[in-house]
Symmetry: C2
Subunit: 218 residues, 2 copies
DNA sequence: TAGATTGTTAATCGATTAACAATC
DNA sequence: TAGATTGTTAATCGATTAACAATC
């Protein structure tokens, strides 16, 4: 079912977007879609879509296109969304609570077990149904429950030390919001470094470029 | 000072990361750095860094390297970080408040003027020093203060309608957290669509791949 | 069957890397 | 001056696009 010859990073990065669009199409009641139609919707080329899907063995049908249910299932399987992975969240500050309250972890393949914080005022409280526990109980919790990944919404400076501690205890992936780039790939631990400031800086740059363009077209 | 021949998207996406690393180096007290040393630090090649910087005219010195103060200033200028752009935030829910309370807008080139929400309980409150105003006053506020961009932390379904309304009133950029992809580039309005779920799905996939790798190496 | 659309190979394009002369 | 390191051109590599035979 899966070709086994190193899928390129560019393709992997497109998978969530494919998945998202397929879910939307499903919600719109569609049952099938051609590479051409999907390309138009997503601003890609049909060729690229077919190339991308064929990295994983091709799940279309000539003359018909792609069945949306099947596509959703296949893409989900490739990303491992239904494998019941578990996550914990470290740092129940504003951003941590925003995620606890609003973010749909299970839609991205994870069950969020609980959160940890050092602040006694927060311990015992629940946000979005997730309990905040004492940071003192973290090591024991990991030992017992073996969560797959940790969400880091702790202050910036603490990141490297805590990240290494987590990896030593068996955490196998990090979703890192601290702003400090973490690189544990050498240890075989993938990290997604989320840099909101990078995104906003890019917007700043693009707004400037668009302004210039407008000025020239006057 | 600036070459004017369409800098590639790949380069533009790297600019914030360059800027971030240069800021870190400055904080560490460094005064200069060579493309070789920076490449090592960032996991790139020296060649690529020199190519990238030379898209904008080259601000190094043979035999010496790059002066960090100068580099920071130049990169900041390229991205327009000191041009005093202004922003408003729409939707003071959990995520909106997390940004208001914690996010350093000015470090990414924007002054956040205030926030808007329809919930009467929130109106008048302040988060991180930013006032929440009634959504009813939004149109008038834009008219008077002409903010450059809007941060969308409103519910998903409202996104397209509100986005178009904002653009009609003169907003020239969107930082979109709604989860719904917005494409207004046709109107000359750049959008940064933030998809946290894409990032977490990618992590899910990478954790799976790393697990397989480990299994094979046993 | 005829029409449509995939899977896949070949061609093109763009981005990264290597090399080296220029020069601080 | 000698050493270092840039700016820049040329070579390589990888990703995207085009084309078309296979086939539903």
């Amino acid at each position: 079912m899966e070709h086994k010859q190193e899928v390129s990073k560019a393709v992997i990065q497109r998978l969530p977007r494919y998945y998202r669009n397929i879910c939307e199409l499903k919600a719109e009641g569609e049952q099938r879609i051609s590479s051409k139609a999907l390309a138009e919707r997503m601003g890609l080329t049909a060729s690229q879509i077919r190339q991308d899907f064929n990295c994983f063995g091709g799940f279309g049908q000539q003359g018909y296109g792609y069945n949306i249910d099947k596509l959703q299932e296949e893409l989900g399987a490739i990303m491992g969304l239904r494998t019941g992975r578990t996550a914990i969240l470290l740092g129940a500050g504003n951003l941590g609570r925003a995620l606890l309250n609003n973010f749909n972890f299970s839609a991205s393949g994870f069950e969020l077990l609980c959160a940890f914080d050092a602040n006694p005022q927060l311990i015992g409280q629940r946000f979005g149904g997730h309990e905040v526990r004492s940071a003192d109980t973290l090591a024991e919790f990991i030992e017992r429950n073996k969560p797959d990944v940790a969400v880091l919404t702790i202050p910036r400076g603490d990141a490297p030390r805590i990240a290494h501690g987590l990896v030593e205890r068996g955490i196998r992936g990090l979703w890192n919001f601290t702003g400090e780039d973490l690189h544990l790939e050498g240890l075989g631990v993938p990290v997604e470094n989320v840099h909101l400031s990078d995104s906003l800086m890019t917007l700043c740059h693009l707004v400037g470029a668009a302004d210039e363009e407008r000025a020239q077209n006057l």
